[in-house]
């Protein structure tokens, strides 16, 4: 199945040529379509094969991540999630992820690099939650692998603030991703003082990064369903 496309030649290309080639979508494969709200954040509205994304820390991060991989898996792509031992697949399904194409590698331990490399070879979307700091040489190898195999690497920078407050969390990934999505504001509706239930969350997502081709953008992501009047009984006339 080895198509004679630009990939086969890529080791011979210089790095500038390589970047140019990847910008031109040489193999003609379109990117992975995103949910409409998120598509508005990213130029072209889809995840470009071979690119890296980062999901920044903050409340609502997991919901954002799930929404990010939902549309591609529903359209037939596979996703592998590495290093999450606490992800709830049920929430993933509610977000629209096709569970039959979602593989979970909860605790790769010391072999995370081999696992990530093997999965980047074959799976279109690889979500990596780094448990330890990644050496620059390793990160460059992974990036090269992703570019060569036209797969997408999504890095999750989790909130690791356990020390003194107001210190930025330690960065596990030494490279700059193409695009960073960060949940900035996270509000729940439907729960009141002693009654109601969590119904709907609104997450404000900010996008930054060098591949944005413009100023930072933001959008609002809704999770769950709008509270019915019955539940929001707090609003008396």
């Amino acid at each position: 199945m080895a198509l004679p496309n630009a990939l086969a030649l890529s080791p011979a290309l210089s790095s500038t040529q390589h970047v140019a080639a990847s910008l031109l979508h040489v193999d003609g494969r379109p990117g992975l379509q995103l949910a409409p709200e998120l598509a508005a954040l990213i130029p072209g509205g889809c995840l470009r094969p071979g690119s890296t994304l980062e999901v920044g820390p903050g409340s609502g991060q997991t919901s954002l991540l799930l929404r990010l991989i939902a549309e591609p898996t529903a359209r037939g792509s596979w996703a592998a999630v590495i290093g999450f031992d606490d992800l709830n697949p049920h929430a993933a399904r509610e977000a629209g992820v096709a569970l039959e194409r979602l593989a979970l590698v909860a605790n790769p331990g010391g072999t995370w690099l081999e696992v990530a490399a093997a999965l980047l070879d074959t799976v279109e979307l690889v979500v990596l939650n780094l448990q330890q700091e990644c050496r620059p040489a390793d990160s460059r190898r992974l990036l090269a692998r992703a570019r060569q195999r036209r797969s997408i690497l999504i890095l999750v920078q989790r909130d690791t603030r356990r020390g003194p407050p107001n210190r930025p969390p330690r960065r596990m990934w030494p490279e700059q991703p193409d695009i960073t999505l960060t949940p900035s504001q996270y509000t729940w509706h439907g729960l009141e003082q002693g009654h109601g239930r969590l119904c709907e969350a609104v997450i404000t997502v900010n996008a930054t990064g060098r591949r944005l081709n413009g100023p930072a953008r933001s959008c609002r992501l809704r999770v769950g369903e709008r509270p019915t009047p019955h539940w929001s009984a707090g609003g008396d006339p």
Binding site: A80, L191, E192, Q193, G196
Partner: protein
């Protein structure tokens, strides 16, 4: 070419030890899959719901599917038949076929060949007369001969016992059978709408039109309906030896360990075949123990083998051997130390598409191969897929299935009264986080009647600062498994949303309108609180 089929209809029922006169059915995912003759007489059919089947036959014994047992019970029969005809091809437990031309000439005719097989089976039955159900099981064998494997199988199952379809008349024999015997549901539905009810009507359609309208799977089915054996036409003997083998060190004593090794081997074999643009239609599996005992079986697939079905066949073959309960059958004295997979018969991969309906895409096959590799790297319990099942707590509602293992049959999720309402929390903490929850008058307590001592106003995680509670709801009492003292649990659940933690030093006024809020699903049991899951 002439083919012979030995079929045990309702094998899963007989393997489970039920007599044909007992009304029994194998039920998977709430639907009838196999039934005994007695159940058939009562009106039980494939695809019926459990309750409907029970309605037809109130005495119905329901069985869970057990492919392991099916294979294990079938092995003595295969061992007996193979002494009569060496090149026996297994399709699944309960069905085997063979090319009959050679053996028939050897035994002096097709009728004689059938007699020979029947004698061997009767001898086996006599040997194990003390175990009653086996004697019956063997008498349930049906044998048929026709021009194609499919024809022979149907001749065995639908004709009178020992049924011979005359050479060249297989198509005529098949003509009256319903189209559903092809076991392609979508094709049957469409054909039914087109007014095509029998195989004879289907066979009359022009071959090219069937291929263009329905695709390759239906074209294969069309060949079957015309009484042809579709694979031999495309078969060629492999020029290179398409075989992979692996030494197991330490030797595998159990089936699951051996089949895990088989997983890697099968991926290797498929990769070699892919490289040559071939697909395997007949596979030989050889296993040997340290003490030199060997077991070799030939398996056929319809239409082709993929990595998963190869592993399944290895599992079937070995479970009949390693876990054999039959004293007459030589049980190996040591663990399996060598496993060898040989592609016996191959065809061009493009001639035999995996299947038209629900086929694997290129991306699927690539991903499956990669995940097989990772699970080989990390061990069997490292890669998971998830299924949704029933339960109250968020953790109960998810079932993780190790990669490569057949998913357990889960009853479709019913409404579960008392479950945590949707949306689901996106993070379930594997180790619950103990917390303190305070109201205006100190710690919040919940009485056994579900009353709380005060409204929660602030929450503290271990090592953290107090975070003000914005809103809360609860307690939702859960009293589960009270009939089993070991697993009984009585907890109360709360949903809580909080502001970000307030740093001790900067007692800034809390701005309720802005900033991140956290939402938790908390549990309280005997006045200790913990966070079970987070709505992240």
């Amino acid at each position: 070419m002439r083919f012979l089929a030995v079929s045990f209809p309702h094998w899963p029922i007989t393997a489970a030890g039920c007599s044909p006169s007992v009304s029994a059915a194998v039920i998977e995912s709430g639907r009838v899959q196999h039934y005994s003759p007695a159940a058939y007489r009562d009106g039980v059919r494939t695809g019926q719901r459990r309750r409907e089947a029970k309605g037809h036959s109130p005495e119905l014994i329901t069985l869970a599917p057990n492919p392991h047992l099916d294979a294990q019970q079938f092995e003595p029969i295969v061992a007996t038949l193979i002494q009569v005809v060496p090149r026996l091809e297994l399709t699944k437990p309960g069905l085997c076929t063979l090319a009959a031309t050679g053996p028939a000439r050897y035994y002096g005719g097709e009728v004689e060949l059938i007699d020979e097989l029947r004698c061997a089976l009767e001898e086996l039955g006599a040997q194990s007369l003390d175990t009653k159900h086996e004697a019956r099981e063997i008498s349930g064998a049906r044998i048929g001969i026709a021009d194609s494997r499919f024809g022979a199988q149907l001749a065995a199952e639908h004709g009178t016992d020992g049924y011979l379809v005359a050479p060249g008349r297989t198509r005529e024999f098949l003509a009256d059978l319903p189209i559903s015997t092809l076991e392609l549901d979508e094709l049957s539905t469409i054909a039914h709408r087109l007014g095509i009810e029998t195989l004879g009507q289907f066979a009359q359609l022009p071959t090219r039109s069937v291929l263009t309208r329905f695709g390759s799977a239906a074209a294969t089915a069309h060949a079957l309906a015309r009484g042809l054996d579709p694979t031999p036409l495309a078969i060629h003997q492999p020029a290179v030896e398409l075989a992979v083998s692996s030494e197991l060190d330490p030797p595998a004593q159990r089936v699951d360990i051996a089949s895990f090794a088989a997983k890697r081997l099968s991926a290797e074999l498929i990769e070699i075949l892919d490289r040559h643009g071939l697909a395997c239609t007949q596979l030989r599996i050889e296993a040997a123990t340290e003490h030199g005992e060997e077991l070799c079986r030939i398996w056929r697939a319809s239409p082709v083998f993929d990595a998963e079905t190869i592993v399944e066949r290895v599992r079937w073959q070995l479970s009949g051997w390693l876990d054999s309960t039959d004293p007459a059958l030589a049980k190996p004295t040591a663990g399996v130390s060598l496993l060898r997979l040989i592609a016996d018969e191959v065809a061009g991969a493009n001639d035999l598409q995996i299947s038209l309906w629900g086929e694997l895409s290129q991306a699927d096959r690539r991903a499956v191969r990669g995940l097989d590799r990772v699970s080989g790297l990390l061990g069997p319990a490292a890669v998971f897929t998830a299924l949704i099942s029933g339960g109250r707590s968020p953790a109960d509602r998810v079932q993780l299935v190790p990669w490569g293992q057949p998913p357990p049959s889960i009853e479709p999720p019913m409404p579960w009264p008392g479950h945590v309402p949707e949306p689901m929390p996106s993070v379930i903490h594997p180790d619950p986080i103990p917390i303190e929850v305070h109201g205006v008058q100190g710690p919040v307590r919940v009485t056994s009647r579900g009353e709380i001592s005060g409204s929660p106003t602030q929450l503290r995680q271990p090592g953290g600062n107090w975070a003000p509670v914005i809103a809360w709801a609860g307690p939702w009492l859960v009293d589960e498994h009270w009939w089993e003292p070991d697993t009984a649990q009585r907890v109360a659940r709360f949903q809580l949303t909080t502001k970000a933690e307030v740093a001790e030093q900067s007692r800034a006024p809390v701005d309720v309108a802005a900033g991140a809020s956290h939402a938790y699903l908390c549990c309280v049991q005997q006045n200790s609180w913990w966070i079970e899951a987070t709505y992240d």
